[in-house]
Amino acid sequence: MAKVLMKGNEALGEAAILAGCRYYFGYPITPQSELPAYLAKRLPQVDGVFVQAESEVSAINMVYGAASAGARVMTSSSSPGISLKQEGISYIAGAELPCLIVNVMRGGPGLGNINPSQSDYWQATRGGGHGDYRTLVMAPNSVQEMADFTLAAFEYADRFRNPVLMLSDGVLGQMMEPVVMPSPKDYDIDSKKWALGYTGKDKTARNLCTSIFMGQEELEEHNWSLYQKYQVITDFFKANKELAVEEYLCDDAEIILVGYGIISRILKTVVEKCRKRGIKAGLVRPKVLWPFPSEIISKLADKASKFLVVEMSYGQMVEDVKLAVEGKKPVYFFGRTGGAVPSDFEILNEVDKIVRPD
């Protein structure tokens, strides 16, 4: 397919349609508005359903309903709206339903501002809602990946019967880049025999979608089976490293920069500039934030002597990096918030301070 110039939010929307998603439920919020605007136009053209809900709370519960009925379904929002969706996400995780939730992150806490940010990392990777559950979290860093990851997200969601969260930000959502659209996937609603309303001849009992397990033993058994599923997801990404992380010039690196999403694009420039100055720098970029690629970072900590984590927050993912490094090497941090995207020059300065402390 030919390259087209598209905004990240729109590329994600088109990729959702290519993935067989025909249902979108959402509530307006900046900076993700291009995505619902795009789908409001496109979905009716492919016999799909677009509903502007009365709130994010309702939108996520419409997703819960549609997913329980077997739909490939998605919602999107930005930080304050994602906070409102958390109860619903917990139900979706508890009932083991597949869906895609997109967070085009903006500045917080509270109403914060509409500038790009990465301050929802904890909320995304620690569950966000109540209870013992995990969402699979993906972090694209280009318009191309906004599209590619969306196709993958729907596949993972169905394969693991788990919600998938796409953690993007205001820059990725709104910037334009050339993109080659992935090939379309066929989706058959009747492939989900557990879905409500499934009427296939092989249906022997009624179908039920619930997250309530009143007995102590019953709930413990359910949570145990969820835990085992989360282990399967973790093992899947351990076995498919290339899906979980991008490593750049790490083999001989003394200092390894770590960042996800839009930051990783800047870090790549920083690594190149470091190399020109004779500093052996490398880059690790998690593409999947949960399960976190701890093993890979742990192995790198045996070779490299220092780590610098850069985020558009005052330090959230850095905690996972520290857990992975296990104190073997120092882990430094640099962050900006409020919508400030750190420049390569600023980060280079930080690297200099670390590698040439005089």
Partner: protein, 250 residues
């Protein structure tokens, strides 16, 4: 011997967890009989709320979803949009529908979702032990209005059917009760009208059932039904507030 009454096969064999004399069981039966009579049980999907009827799914032999507190109309929207040929209904209490879920019910009704909502108004939060509901009568003592509901600071009972009936989209809005056999038969008719409209894809139907909660009202079921007639019905008058297709006359 000729059998004149039997249990519908849409109800399961499970014993219910409802208190003796509770109206939930009666309304379950009326819905189940309706699904059987309209021959739609095999494509019916219910949505259980959070409230005493959270386990409603255990008592019906049909597909079921269990929704978060107040969100059943949004969940129903997602299901019905995905499976437009199925028969989708929510079953919700007054705390669920008229307090935490006010936005969801108003907007599902206003979009004219082709679903049926059965609203159990017992004037109290049954499941959590008898707290004040938006439908609690003025002066009524509950766990959280121990001196009686004071209209000046706690508001007055919300009449949901009347509010829904002001919207353009809903096809059918009616209020019934099940305190006598005659009223049960009327309630059955209303529920059947609602599901018939849905089956014919004629839009949003809403049946409010004024019910008792003997346990949290602190009354014997017979006394509670009497109290309902004398105190609840003057505030929540029975009747049909909207019927755009004239199904009651048909």
């Amino acid at each position: 011997m000729k059998q004149v009454f039997g249990k519908t096969k849409v109800l399961s064999a499970n014993p219910t967890h409802y208190c003796p004399g509770c109206d939930h069981g009666i309304v379950h039966r009326l819905i189940a009989e309706t699904l059987e009579e309209l021959e739609v049980a095999d494509k019916a999907i219910g949505i259980a709320p959070v409230g005493c009827s959270v386990f409603a799914y255990d008592y019906f032999n049909i597909d079921f979803n269990q929704a978060a507190h107040g969100r059943a109309p949004a969940v129903a929207t997602g299901i019905k949009r995905t499976r437009p040929d199925s028969i989708v209904f929510t079953y919700q209490g007054d705390g669920d529908l008229a307090a935490i879920g006010t936005a969801e019910i108003i907007h599902a009704a206003n979009r004219g979702e082709n679903i049926t909502v059965v609203f159990i108004n017992n004037g109290i939060y049954g499941m959590t032990g008898g707290q004040m509901a938006p439908t609690t009568l003025v002066g009524m003592k509950t766990q959280t209005s121990p001196y009686g509901r004071d209209a000046a600071t706690m508001g007055s009972p919300i009449r949901v059917s009347e509010i829904i009936a002001t919207l353009e989209s809903p096809a059918y809005v009616t209020r019934v009760t099940v305190n006598t056999i005659a009223n049960q038969m009327k309630a059955k008719k209303a529920i059947k009208n609602a599901f018939t409209l849905q089956k014919e894809k004629k839009g949003f139907s809403f049946v409010e059932v004024v019910c008792i909660c003997p346990t949290n009202w602190g009354k014997k079921p017979t006394d509670a039904h009497k109290w309902l007639a004398e105190n609840m019905l003057p505030v929540f008058p029975l009747g049909t507030f909207k019927d755009i297709h004239g199904i009651e006359k048909a």
